[in-house]
């Protein structure tokens, strides 16, 4: 219990020390958006032949006529009071848009990471138990394949096979069938909301929608997870304490699971945290292919139409998620490894 307390203290300290970085991200994104070519006023004017005066009016409305430092101060003030601005595309507050879309992305990413871990860890362990064997080479081949094929290609392939050829999957458009009724929104995670509502048919439908995009994302990250599992498992299996475990006659599974794997899983936790953050931001291709209403495709659309506020909001959100995920990894690590103390 004491160790857990120490871990929490350490995690809190880490969180505080990451706040300046978050602020830096905020300022940097703001400036970057101002430097990038493209004038939002031109973009959102009524049409290509809008007059100069009309553009000027819009620019004044958006506050773009003020000097950049002043714009920055205003923006920071707004962010400080919880207002990320309004999206020109959707006409809604950015916070509202993000809140609607983040659960979709998180649900997809969590599921994909879960699938990836459940596949990668056993594969890595199997490969490490028989290095150089057929199994090891098979795992390596599978991983190479996963990394080589871009997610949108594997996504399209999955759609082709399971939707078009076999007809097993529903049409790849969004999180639920457009005609299905949504459960009352509690967490925003459809799988959980359906369960809470007791609607199992709806749950199954949402699950079927989720599985293909999750699979194509998982395929991409199985490789790093399986490789790190294999590598750290090899170290673990070759270590002195595994030899000790064998020397006192522990059953085979106990040596592999309790002694080798539990030690080997520590670096996997770290990598899984990094993989999760990367997936959340980088799964825009999968979201596009499956028309998934997530934050990444939202941000991409905003970026293409020079819509400043959503892009800045998205970057801030990603940075925050990254910090939180790292915190979680820290806490998990502290629980898994008693040697980690306040440092």
């Amino acid at each position: 219990m004491q160790a857990l307390g120490a871990t929490v203290v350490r995690a809190g300290r880490r969180f505080l020390s990451s706040l300046p970085a978050l602020f830096g991200v905020l300022v940097f994104t703001f400036l970057l958006m101002r430097v990038l070519p493209g004038d939002p006023a031109v973009f959102f004017a009524s049409g290509p032949n809008a007059g100069k005066e009309e553009i000027e009016v819009i620019r004044k409305q958006m506050g773009l006529n003020k000097p950049v430092p002043e714009q920055l101060m205003l923006y920071l003030y707004d962010v400080g009071s919880g207002n990320l601005g309004r999206s020109m595309m959707t006409g809604q507050l950015v916070t509202k848009d993000l809140r609607e879309r983040l659960p979709a992305s998180l649900e997809l990413t969590f599921t994909a990471l879960l699938i990836a871990l459940v596949t990668a860890v056993p594969l890595g362990v199997l490969a490490a138990l028989r290095p150089g064997s057929i199994i090891d080479h098979g795992v390596r081949f599978f991983c190479a394949l996963g990394v080589c094929v871009p997610t949108f290609v594997s996504g399209l392939l999955l759609i082709y096979v399971f939707y078009y050829l076999l007809g097993l999957a529903p049409d790849p458009t969004g999180r639920v069938d457009i005609f299905a009724s949504l459960p009352p929104r509690r967490t925003g995670f459809l799988l959980i909301d359906f369960l809470l509502a007791g609607d199992f048919d709806g749950w199954w439908a949402a699950f079927r929608q989720l599985i293909l995009p999750a699979l194509s994302m998982a395929l991409f990250v199985v490789a790093p997870l399986a490789r790190i599992t294999r590598a750290s498992m090899l170290v673990s299996l070759g270590s002195d304490f595994v030899r000790t475990a064998r020397s006192v006659g522990l059953p085979w599974w106990r040596v592999v699971v309790t002694y080798a794997l539990r030690n080997a899983i520590l670096p996997v936790i770290t990598i899984a945290g990094i993989v999760f953050s990367t997936m959340l931001g980088a799964n825009v291709l999968v979201e596009k292919v499956f028309s998934w209403p997530g934050v990444a495709s939202y941000a991409l659309d905003a970026l293409l139409s020079s819509d400043y506020a959503p892009v800045q909001g998205f970057v801030l959100l990603m940075a925050t998620v990254f910090v939180i995920v790292n915190l979680l990894v820290d806490i998990l690590y502290g629980i898994a490894d008693p040697r980690v103390t306040i440092g």
Binding site: G238, S239, D240, F241, R243, T244, A245, R246, S247, V248, G249, L250, P251, W252, R254, T258, Y259, R262, N263, A336, D337, P338, R339
Partner: protein, 555 residues
């Protein structure tokens, strides 16, 4: 040998490596009776540990028993299945390993690990297993066993970890215990306690024990019968006293001679037949320093505190005159390494004065000391010849580097000549200079380290356990080399070591440190023969002697 517990006949073990097959054990035949204690002695690469691992079937995946048989209680266990062998592991034969901290699972409480070992062979509820584990911790004399049950290995000292390891090994009362260098890396006093405990338990429970060690003295102290291995073969088998008084095999003779004892001298470390090959070094009589000359090194009231800890070193004062050799001994944590590092100005003292030839050097910050003209006068030889050489430097680069940096030499013929001269002085073949550290043997790397240290003709050489990582026969040669260099150059030594026998041979005076303070100092031989403080006596008594009776009469 009426009832033979274990019998090896013509055992061969081969490892497949990148360079092809390597035969590590080549035809070992030996037997062990119930409850007997056997010492298996040899240097690194002799195949002694491999023999132990072959018996318990814990060889690396690359190792294979290619010929011969292992019989345990009359049953041939050479080819039984891994599943059947699991029932022998722990229950019938168990092992104790070198480096106890690494041998325990770092993220599992030690009590659970012992309980795991118990439940591997007996079905019982977890509570009962834990209760038995607690009993075992008591049996291995761990203080506060209830508290230690929940401790993790990193919270225990090396000696404690080894006791836990012993508890695990004896948990199912095996008939055979194989201890592979069980006390290497532990302090002498801890070594004695752990070995006494181990032999006590083995005797009490009637376990036969094989003690695998490189330390002849240790084997002699605890075993009735000692077997010497060299290059995978048994070369001699005898009772310790016969072995040491009248070794028959030339290798055993060399090994016995090279093992430092209380009475050995540096010249004795090589057997008589081979002594002729040595070049006699003319020892110039040391000129008496003119009165009033300051000593080479004078240290006054040195202290070092690391942040918020107790002082690592406190109130340390000493002097070294030119050409003198001073030993610094103590257990791990006694502050001897810290002191030596402060003196060679790698770290800064918290308090105190250091004067070199009368000039204060203590105030120069350690990170600027490399610019001081005294840098080349004070050089260091590090403990680990493997880690202290840059793996990307050839031997030539290693030796040339200080000459370029401190000696003011430029790359060219002059440098080449100086490096080659240095190599010749330390007995390193010129043809080896183009090699990288991984292509050199341990002894050769040690020579490179020494050549690098003497490259700029220092006045004071700080030697931090220079031979701790070497085999005794290599150690013997390196010690002779160091002694010769000292005489030739009128070098002063600060010799840091945990090995009292080595210090006694190498040093005129010795300082004993405990918890950062000097407890005793004086002329080496006199002090070790007649220690005045209890701590020094304890240290001296903990050293395992090859010939206990002889050592007693020699004093």
């Amino acid at each position: 040998m009426t009832s033979s517990l274990l019998a090896l006949s013509d055992l061969h073990v081969t490892f497949s490596t990148r360079r092809g097959l390597v035969e590590a054990v080549r035809g070992v035949t030996l037997s062990l009776g119930e409850g007997e204690m056997l010492g298996l002695v040899g240097e690194s690469g002799s195949g002694k540990s491999v023999t132990g691992f072959a018996i318990t079937r814990l060889l690396d995946a690359a190792g294979r028993i290619t010929a011969g048989h292992i019989r345990f209680r009359g049953q041939d266990i050479t080819r039984i299945s891994a599943g059947d062998f699991r029932h022998l592991h722990g229950a019938a034969m168990a092992m104790i390993f070198q480096n106890p901290r690494a041998a325990l699972n770092p993220i599992r409480a030690v009590g659970d690990q012992i309980a795991d070992a118990i439940t591997a062979h007996k079905r019982m509820p977890r509570d009962e297993a834990r209760a038995q584990a607690l009993e075992l911790l008591r049996a291995v004399q761990i203080r506060d066993p209830e508290k230690r049950m929940a401790a993790y290995p990193h919270e225990l000292s090396g000696g404690m970890c080894q006791r836990v390891m012993i508890a695990m090994a004896i948990s199912c009362n095996p008939a055979l215990l194989i201890a592979d260098e069980p006390t290497t890396g532990l302090d002498v006093t801890t070594q004695k306690v752990v070995m006494d405990l181990l032999t006590g338990i083995a005797a009490e429970r009637g376990m036969a024990t094989i003690l695998i060690t490189h330390d002849l003295g240790l084997a002699a102290r605890y075993c009735r019968r000692v077997v010497v291995m060299e290059q995978g073969r048994l070369v001699e088998e005898a009772e310790p006293t016969t072995l040491f008084h009248a070794p028959r095999h030339p290798y055993t003779k060399r090994l016995v001679a090279a093992s430092p004892t209380a009475s050995s001298r540096i010249a004795d470390l090589v057997p008589e037949e081979e002594r002729g090959r040595q070049i006699a070094v003319p020892v110039a009589a040391r000129p008496q320093p003119a009165p009033g000359t300051p000593p080479l090194l004078e240290v006054q009231k040195l202290a070092k505190r690391f942040d918020e800890g107790a002082a690592a070193v406190a109130d340390f004062s000493m002097t070294i005159s030119a050409g003198e050799s001073v030993g610094l001994v103590g257990e791990s944590g006694s502050g001897k390494s810290t002191t030596s590092r402060i003196i060679c100005r790698l770290i800064d003292p918290s308090e105190g004065e250091i004067a070199f030839e009368g000039q204060s050097i203590g105030h120069i910050p350690a990170r600027d000391f490399h610019r001081s003209p005294f840098r080349k006068d004070i050089q260091i030889v590090f403990q680990d010849p493997n880690d202290s050489l840059n793996p990307r430097f050839t031997a030539f680069d290693c030796i040339a580097h200080p000459m370029l940096r401190l000696g003011g030499l430029r790359a060219g013929d002059a440098l080449r000549q100086r490096v080659e001269e240095c190599a010749r002085r330390v007995g390193l073949g010129i043809e080896l200079l183009t090699r990288f550290p991984h292509q050199l043997s341990g002894g050769q790397k040690a020579r490179v380290g020494i050549a690098r240290a003497i490259a700029c003709r220092p006045r004071l050489l700080v030697l931090d356990e220079p031979t701790a990582a070497l085999d005794v026969s290599v150690q013997a040669v390196v010690l002779q080399l160091l002694d010769r260099l000292r005489r030739e150059d009128d070098l002063a030594f600060l010799f840091v070591s945990h090995d009292l026998n080595v210090v006694r041979m190498m040093c005129d005076r010795t300082i004993v440190l405990q918890n950062g303070r000097i407890v005793e100092q004086g002329e080496s031989r006199a002090m070790f023969d007649n220690p005045k403080t209890a701590y020094t006596r304890e240290l001296v008594e903990a050293v395992p002697h090859i010939e206990p009776e002889l050592a007693a009469t020699a004093t």
